[in-house]
Structure formats: C-alpha cells, structure tokens
C-alpha cells in the first residue's frame, strides 16, 4: 500500500507565496513522480485557515486568476494531532485520512521557525527536514550567530536590539552601530528571503531602515558588510552522515540578493532559486571551497540540523576570510537546481529526505520520554476516594 504523505505549505508569513512554489516545485511534483505516495497537500491560507484538496497538487490551482474565489468555496479541514496526524473533512459526508509522513514546505514564521515541527512532534509522526530546535535557532539570525560563536565559527561583527530597547534609548544603539565598519546591513532577525533588509551607507538612512525592520519583527540585527564580497551558499542533507551539494555562488545583479532575485527573476514559472544568477559550482579556488565545505558541515552539526539545510557564507575576497552568515532550514525549492548539478534528481532528493525523516523518527522512538513515578501519590492534600 502507498504511504500517505502530507505536504504542508502556505501559512501566515511573508513568504506565503514562495512556500507554494517550494511545495510544488520540486516537492509535490517529485513525490507524485515516484508513484510511491498518496500525496495530500495541506494548504494554510494567509488568514490561517487550513484546506486540503488533491486538486491543490497542481500549482496551476494557485496561479489561476480567480484563485481566491475557488478557495472561498473550499471546505476547511480539521487536523487531529493525537497519536498520528489525521485530516478530517467535517460534515454529513465526512472523511478522514491518516497521514504517515509530513513534508513541511512552509517558509518563515510558523513554518520554518519550529512551530510546525512542534505540532508534528506532538502528533508523533515522522516529518521531513530539521527538527524543532535547529529550526528555532536558525530562524533567529542573532541566536545563530551566538551559537556559532560559542563553537568558534566566524561571523560578521554585529549589534542587535529589540523594539523596546530601541524605543527606550536610540542613542546607545546608534553609537554602537557607529562603531561597526560601514556600510551596514539592517535586518529583521526572524525573516527569511531578504525581506525588509536595507543596506545603509550613511547615517541619515539608518533610522528609517531600522523602522522598516521593526515593521516586520521585534528584534533587529545590524551587521557589517564584507569588503570585496563573495557570497557562497552550500546545501547539505543528511542526519549523521552528510551529503553536500555543489558550492554555489549567487551572482547579484542588484545591491544584494533580494527577494525577487532569489525567487523570481528570469524564471517566471518560479522554479525556486534561479540558476541564471548563480555559478554552480562556484568558481573559487579549491582550498577556499574545501574550507567552505568543512565549515558548512561544522555549522550543520553545531545547530543540530537534520534532513536538509542550506548554509550561507560571506567571503572577504581579498583576505579570504570566511564567515557563516545564516542557516536556512528550508531552502527555497530545496535548492533542487543545485542538487541536480551533483547528480541528485528531484525524485531522489525527496526520497532521500523521507528516508532521513523515518530514520530520525525511529531513533527518537527509542528515546524514553515517560517515567513511572509516584510523585502524585506523595502530593499533599486529600486524595479523591480517600
């Protein structure tokens, strides 16, 4: 019998639309191509409603003009999380589907930050990609830097503060930022896909940039920019044994890798990160590539990643100093364009990721979480029935 797999995407995040693309290209398309799975798309709309209909396995469902009108006619589903994951279509002709494996494809808030992984852990089913802890740390650019620094992995110098810190006393932070090497990047700490990131070259632009970042987040990071920058990214997969994709160099046509470069430019069909603006493998010397690969593996393990992740690096072109910039636990479209270059097809990629998910699940099952205890008997007060 075919395994039932739920691909979960959409969500209440700024990356809602990108998530739809990732879910379809390559995930759902490749899962269907294997012929081994009964694929159920679970789509979370921007308003937080959950829907599931196999018509949504087709990306065209979401690109049609009157998509919202179609959606309005869809019946919302209920999800049951006790002892496995079940999708329930309520009503007179109610239907229930039991899910064997979940494939989260939600970027950003609630999806990539560990929230969804928490739900799936509680449901007790295997799920693809990083677990809750790695996801939560990787989602916070500051926390990532703090964890990596503790393991002596180089990160670019930075200053961080919360909205409250900023409102109480701006001048402290402006002073600290002034001590960084300019220009600086101002970033919301939790957002992916370069949304609301500003490169600030002069003082007069700083406060507006910080205000923009706080429009999307309550924690902001200001970091130095790297001279003669070479951006490098490296997708990695595996649990204990790691497999590396090609060392990739995104080539920017604008000031920095922004949202549309990353997902849209040159590829109207939305095949995820777009290869036209990337060099795969990166044309860098062998020693540097080796350093990136080693640092990538160390970072992956330090954060406790499993399944798949992508590590982004910043390299100073003249000093060849390599910094780890951030970790993405759900690379857009799984970076399948890069995996293809190292001979991993979309079908192979999703099949491997599912195997990693099952393996991790089995090993987690072996961990004992429940203890018999007599603590309740010892608790004070009169016992019922006494």
């Amino acid at each position: 019998m075919k395994k039932t797999i739920a691909v979960i995407f959409g969500g209440r995040s700024a990356e809602h639309d990108v998530s739809i693309i990732t879910a379809h290209t390559p995930i759902i398309q490749s899962l269907l191509a294997t012929g081994q799975f009964d694929v159920w798309p679970i789509y979370i709309a921007k308003d937080g409603s959950w829907y599931s209909d196999q018509a949504m396995n087709d990306l065209a469902y979401f690109t049609q003009d009157n998509f919202q009108a179609y959606l309005a006619r869809q019946k919302k589903v209920q999800i049951l999380f006790d002892n496995g994951l079940k999708i329930i279509w309520p009503g007179i002709r109610s239907k229930t589907i039991q899910i064997d494996i979940a494939f989260p494809a939600m970027h950003g808030t609630f999806g990539e930050d560990g929230s969804l992984m928490g739900l799936l852990r509680m449901a007790g089913i295997p799920f693809v990609g990083c677990d809750l802890f790695a996801s939560a740390v990787a989602m916070d650019k500051v926390l990532t830097k703090q964890v990596l620094t503790a393991e002596s992995i180089s990160v670019v110098p930075y200053v961080w503060f919360t909205k409250n810190d900023w409102e109480i006393n701006r001048s402290i932070w402006i002073e600290k930022i002034a001590k960084l090497n300019w220009p600086v990047f101002v970033k919301p700490v939790h957002l992916g896909s370069s949304i609301a990131i500003t490169k600030v070259k002069q003082n007069s632009e700083l406060e507006n940039a910080i205000e923009v970042a706080f429009h999307y987040d309550d924690k902001v990071l200001v970091e130095e920019s790297v001279e003669n920058l070479i951006e490098i990214t490296l997708p990695i997969m595996g649990n204990e044994e790691l497999q590396l994709a090609a060392v990739e160099r995104p080539l920017n046509k604008t000031e920095f890798f922004d949202f549309s470069d990353k997902y849209l430019s040159g590829n109207k069909k939305g095949g995820g990160a777009n290869s036209q603006y990337s060099e795969i493998p990166a044309n860098i010397d062998g020693e540097l590539a080796k350093q990136v690969e080693d640092l990538g593996k160390k970072t992956y393990r330090t954060l406790g990643c499993s399944g798949i992740a992508r590590i982004d690096f910043l390299v100073d072109g003249s000093s060849k100093q390599v910094y780890v910039n951030e970790v993405n636990t759900l690379p857009g479209s799984l970076y399948h364009h890069n995996w293809k270059k190292v001979g991993v097809s979309g079908v192979e990629l999703v099949t491997k990721l599912i195997a990693f998910a099952e393996k991790r699940f089995v090993s987690q099952q072996k961990t004992t979480y429940i203890f018999d205890s007599d603590i309740l008997k010892k608790a004070g007060g009169q016992k019922i029935g006494e």
């Binding site: 009157n66 009108a69 609301a196 500003t198 507006n208 205000e211 923009v212 429009h215 999307y216």
Partner: protein, 249 residues
C-alpha cells in the same frame, strides 16, 4: 528600498542628484512604469518614485481610501524623506493626486507635469456614478436565491462590462469607486504653477479631449501631444517625453 509611512511599508526608489522630481504612477500600476523615463532623467535630476499604497510592493491600506488619503500619504512620504519637491510628475491616477494636492496646497512644487492624467472626464461622471450604483445594487440582489448561485458569474460579467480596472481591483474596489467619483475640474482651475501636459494622441483611457479640457482649466499650462502613442506614452515614447520634460524644467 522600503520606508514606513503611515505605518505602511512603502517601496520606493531614489536615484540621481539635483532637483527632486517626484513620480506618481497610475491605477493598478507601479513605479517601474517610469523605468526608462527615469533612466533618461536621472543623470541631471534626483528622481524619486514610489509604489502608492495598494500597488507594486507597497502594503495595502486597511481601509478603503479616497483621493485625500492618497494626497496626505504623499505629503507624509515627502516629509519623511525630508525632501523639497521641485516638480511632480503624475501619470493617470497619479495626476489626480497632483491636481487635487496642488489645488488644496497639500502638495507643493515649483512645476507640474501631468501625463495622460485622469480626473477631468466630465462626460464620464454620469457613467461612473451609474456604474457605482449598479454595482451596489448588483452586489445586494445577488445575495437573494436563486441569484446567489450565479453570483460569481454575474459579477464577472458586470465587471467585464465596467472595464478591466474595476475587475482587477480586488481589495481596492471601494477605493477605486471613491476615487473615480471625484471630478477635479474645480481643482484644476486653482493650479497656478507652470504645468506641462503630455498626452498620447491615441489615448483611450484618458482621451486627448481630457487633455485639452485640462489645458483650458489650468492657467499656466501647455499641452504637448505625442503622435501615434496611447495612454502609456511615457513608456512608448520615453525619449520624446524626456525631451519635453527637460525643456519644460
């Protein structure tokens, strides 16, 4: 890049140095409509363009806006950027903002350039208000069975009759109705600044007759007609438009 104005994340572009020209795009459009014109003008001017709320990469206002809301927004945007606008360049709906903004002294510049500007179509006011009424009635009666079953189909037919602007307006439907209900003839009369009107000869959205009317209403104005082009004359004939703008400034 982005800036927060009235708590709305607003996408804008600021390029070149010199006197500031602020560009306002049309309905259902975005600031990229001025890409080629901006690249022709930015070597000698500072070109600032923004995606108006609800369009391009700017956030959508929570409530339905009217023209005055947009004017106030542009005013706040200018204050936030701390700039002195030398000239406004408004296309279509952007022209409405400039005309009423200048007339009410909320927006102030030395010169004004209006390209295929909306706001004057007197003969359409009746059509517009009739359509508004029809849309409201249609919206209500199609809730009654059995019409409710055909509601979507009927709506689509109605919209395709009204025109693509309305059909594609989505969330901004109310805003659109509020905006087209204003005739700006009175406002145009109040404009004292030197004004350049640029019109495409074959403009079907805001026909040349609108341009002529505006030229009659605005005291210190000159109308330049570009042959063989339509409503998006600044895109179709950006070289010619740029030349006219340079001469005028």
């Amino acid at each position: 890049m982005k800036i927060i104005v009235q708590d709305l994340a607003t996408e804008y572009q600021d390029e070149g140095t010199g006197k500031v020209l602020l560009f306002l795009h049309g309905w259902q459009d975005n600031f990229h409509t001025f890409d080629s014109l901006a690249s022709l003008l930015s070597p000698t001017r500072r070109i600032i363009r923004l995606d108006l709320p609800g369009f391009g990469k700017s956030e959508v206002p929570q409530e339905a806006w009217n023209l005055d809301n947009y004017i106030q927004f542009v005013k706040d945007f200018i204050e936030k950027l701390d700039i002195q606008v030398y000239a406004f360049v408004g296309h279509s709906f952007g022209g409405r903002i400039v005309i009423k903004g200048e007339a009410t002294k909320n927006l102030q510049a030395q010169k004004i350039i209006l390209i295929g500007s909306a706001g004057i179509a007197k003969n359409r006011t009746f059509r517009n208000s009739t359509l508004k009424l029809l849309a409201k009635i249609g919206g209500l009666i199609t809730y009654i069975p059995p019409l409710i079953f055909w509601r979507e189909g009927l709506r689509k037919r109605m919209y395709s009759f009204i025109g693509s602007d309305y059909l594609n307006t989505g969330k901004l439907k109310e805003t659109f109705l509020k905006i087209i209900s204003e005739n700006l003839s009175v406002s145009a009369k109040k404009i004292a600044m030197p004004t350049l009107l640029i019109w495409g000869e074959n403009d079907t959205e805001t026909p040349l007759s609108d341009g002529k009317k505006l030229a009659g209403l605005i005291v210190d104005s000159q109308l330049k007609v570009i042959r063989g082009s339509g409503h998006f004359v600044h895109k179709e004939k950006s070289q010619e438009v740029s030349k006219l703008v340079q001469e005028f400034l």
